[in-house]
C-alpha cells in the first residue's frame, strides 16, 4: 500500500479555499454599511453661493456665508416673500429653535431662530430652547436650498434633533411653505398644536 500524501500536499491552498466556502458573517448580512451621503451634502467648491439657485437669495459678501448669514438671507430673501410661510409662522406658538452647525473649517457656529415673532440671532442660546438641531454646514445648505428635507438629514443619521419634536414640525411646515411644496401636517399634531 502506497504512502498517502499528506493533507498539505493534497490541498496546498486549503486554508484559502476553506475561507471561500464560508458564508459572510451574520453581522455583515444583517447590518450593511450606511449608504454614502448624497453628493449635494458633500463640501462644495469655493464660490458655490454665487451660483444659481443660491445666488438668488444669498448676499455675496466675498466669502462663504456663516450659518447665521445663511439663515438670515434665507428669511429675508425667501421667507418674507412667501405669504403662506408668513401666515404659518404667525399661527404657530412661540418657539425658540437653535441650530448648532458644524463647519469643516470654521468649527461650530450657533444660530437661533424664533418662530412667531420671526427673528434670527447669532450665537448660543441664553435660555432653554424648544428644539436643538445639530447638523453639518453642508447638510444645512441643501436643506435651505430645498434639495433635501431637514427630516431626511435627521433620519439618515446626519443630523440630530433634541427637544420638542412638535416645534420641529412647526419649523418644517414653515420651511416647506417657503420652498413652495405641499405641507404635510400629521393628524396627531394639527397646526398650531401647543
Amino acid at each position: 500500500m502506497g504512502k498517502l500524501p499528506s493533507l498539505k500536499e493534497m490541498y496546498p491552498k486549503f486554508a484559502e479555499e476553506f475561507e471561500k466556502t464560508k458564508p459572510p458573517s451574520v453581522l455583515e448580512r444583517v447590518t450593511p454599511e450606511a449608504p454614502p451621503p448624497p453628493s449635494f451634502c458633500l463640501p462644495r467648491p469655493d464660490g458655490w453661493w454665487r451660483q444659481p439657485p443660491y445666488s438668488k437669495w444669498i448676499q455675496d459678501r466675498g466669502r462663504e456665508p456663516t450659518a447665521y448669514e445663511l439663515l438670515l438671507d434665507f428669511i429675508i430673501g425667501r421667507a418674507i416673500s412667501s405669504p403662506k410661510a408668513m401666515e404659518l409662522a404667525s399661527s404657530a406658538p412661540s418657539r425658540l429653535i437653535v441650530y448648532e452647525i458644524e463647519h469643516p473649517q470654521r468649527g461650530t457656529e450657533f444660530v437661533r431662530m424664533f418662530l412667531n415673532p420671526t427673528q434670527v440671532i447669532e450665537g448660543p442660546p441664553e435660555e432653554e430652547p424648544d428644539l436643538w438641531i445639530k447638523m453639518n454646514y453642508y447638510d444645512f445648505v441643501p436643506v435651505l436650498g430645498g434639495e433635501i428635507s431637514v427630516f431626511n438629514a435627521v433620519y439618515e443619521g446626519r443630523a440630530t434633533i433634541l427637544g420638542n419634536t412638535t416645534a420641529g414640525l412647526d419649523q418644517y411646515d414653515v420651511m416647506t411653505a417657503i420652498l413652495g411644496f405641499e405641507i404635510p401636517r400629521p393628524r396627531c399634531w394639527p397646526r398650531g398644536h401647543p
Binding site: P93, F151, E156, T160, N164, P186, R187, P190
Partner: protein, 603 residues
Amino acid sequence: MEKRKVLDERAGQLEAREREYVRELYALSKKYLEVEKERPLYSIMQKTFGADPFALQDSQMYKRGGYRQSKRKQEFARLGRQVAVERGLPAYNRAVGLPIGQRQLEPILIAGTNIMVEQDDTHHLNNVAIQQMLDDIKRTVIVNLDIAHRMLTVRAGKEVTPETINLYLETLQHTMCGGAVAQEHMSEINPLLVKDAYAKVITGSDEVKDALDRRFLIDIDQLFHPTRAEKLKEAIGDAIWIVLRIPTLAVRMADGDEAARWAAMQNTMAFIASYGLSGEHIISDLAYSFKHARVVRMGNKMWYQRMRGTNEPGGFPDGYICDFMQAERDLPARRFLEVAQEDEEEALKYSRAMHEGIGGIAAVIDNVLWLGFYMSGGIGFSNTVASAAYSEVMNEISMELIELSHRYMQGVRKVPLRWETVRTMVNSIIQYTMESYEKFPTLAEFHWGGAHRVSVIGTIAASSAAMLTGSSTMGLMAAHYAIAFAMKEGWLRTGWAGQEIQDHIGLPYLCSMRPEEGNLVELRGLNYPMQSFSAAHGAIRGAAVYAAMIGRGSSWCLSPVVKVAFADPHLIFDFKHPKLCIAKAGIRQFMPAGERDPVLPPH
C-alpha cells in the same frame, strides 16, 4: 440695591411670562379636543364605556350595582352558590372581601373583530383558546429526518425512496395516536382522545415535495406569500424536517417535556415498522437521533428553582415566540420603511399584522401564562394588562407612526442604527401616546395603573424603532428608554411596577453580548435575568423582535422551520388570527382539543 431691584423685576417678568405661557398652552390645548373626536380611539372608547370619552367624572358611579353590572360575575355568584351547596363547602362568594366593582367593569373590544368580551372571559382558565395556544406549542417537536435516512442507507442497507417515506408517514400517523405496530399485546389509546396527534413534513425542495403525499406536507408555497415562501425554501433547502404533534391530553397530564419523549418513541416505532428494522444498534441510534440529534424543541430547560422541562413557556426563546406568530405571512416580504413611504394603507396592514402577533401571542405567553400563571398563580393583574394588547388601542396609536413615516421620511433610504437618530421618532411617539392618555380620561381608566400605561408606551416605542431600523436590539433599547422617559421626565408617578422596574438595568446591559447579561434579543427568553420582569412588559420584547423582522422584510425571526411548523392548518389554535380565537373563546365558540369526554360517564 438698584441691582437687586433689576433682578427682582426680571424674575417677576420671567415668572409672569412662564405663567402666561403655561396658561395659554392649556387654553389652546382645549381647542384641539374637537380634532381628537375624529380619531378612531374616540369611537373605540365610546363603544367600550358607553359614555363621552372626554368626560372627567363618572356620573354612573355607585349606580351600576357593583359587580351585578357584569353578567359574567352574576353567573359566577350563582354558580358559586351551587358549588357550595353541592360539595358542602363554601366556594366563590361575593359576600366576602371588599365590595369590588363600583367603577364600570368595561368590556374589551378585541382588535380586528367586532366581538366584545368581558374581562373575566380573558382569564386563561375561562378562555380555552389561550389554553389551546399553549398546548399547541408545548406539544410540538421538530426532528430532522436526513440523519435517520442516512443511517438507514449506510448502516442498515435499506433503500429510502418516496414510497418508503410515504409509507413511514402513514405509519407515523398511527403511532402518534398511540397505535402499536411492532408488538402484540399492547394497550392502545381511544382514537377520539388523541384525534389532534399527527406528524407533517417540511421541506424547501420542490423535487422532494412533489414526491411526497400532499396530506402529510406543510406546503410553504400554499401558506406563505411567494416572496416569503422563496426565502423560507432557500433557508430550509432540500432537508426534510418532520413536525410531530403529540396529543393535547398528554401535555396536560405530564408537561411540555413529554412532547419530545412521545415523539421520539412513536417516531422510532414508525421507522421500525415501515422499514422492517431489527437489531438494537440501529434502533438505539435511531432513538438517539430522534431524541437528541437535530431535534428542535420549542423551549429550553430551565434552571433548578423553576423546575420545568423543555417545551415550557419560561424556556421559549423570544425569537421562537415570534416565529409562532403568523399574522404577516400573506404580506409581501418588503422593508416596512419602503412600504410606509409608498402607501399608508399598505403600511397599516403590516402594522396590524404586528399587533395581531404581539397582542395575541407574545402578551399572552409572557404576561398571562408565564408571569401570571406559572410564576404568580391565581387571579391575574396580568390578564388585565394583556387586554391592553388585545384591544384596538395599539393599532390606533401605531397609525401615527405610519403617518409620520409617510410624511416625514420620504426619500430616506435607510435609518441608521444610531440612537440619536431613532430617538427623534421614539420621542414623537411617546409624546403622542402620553398626550392621548391626558386627553382621554377613559383611556387612562381603561389602562388603569402606571405600570399598565408605561408598558403600552414601551411596546409602542419598541415596535416603532424596530420597524424603522429592522433591529430588535434597537427596538428593545427604545422600549427601555421610553419607559424610563415616561417615568423620569413625564409622569413620575407610574405605579408599583413602574417605579422600581428593571428597565434601569435592562438599558445598560442591553448591548452586551455576554449570555445572561445582554445577548441578541431573539435568543433571550421570558426568564432572562437582566431585563424587566414586570407584568405587561412581556409584549415589549415580542414587539422588538417581531417588528424588527417585519421592518427588515425578513420571513422569520430565529428559525425558518419553526415559522413553517406553525403555519400548519391542522393546528387547533390559529396562529395567524390569535385574537379572533381568543375572542371566539370569550363568547364560547372555540372548540379546544384534549377533552376526555369519550372515556367519561355521560354527563
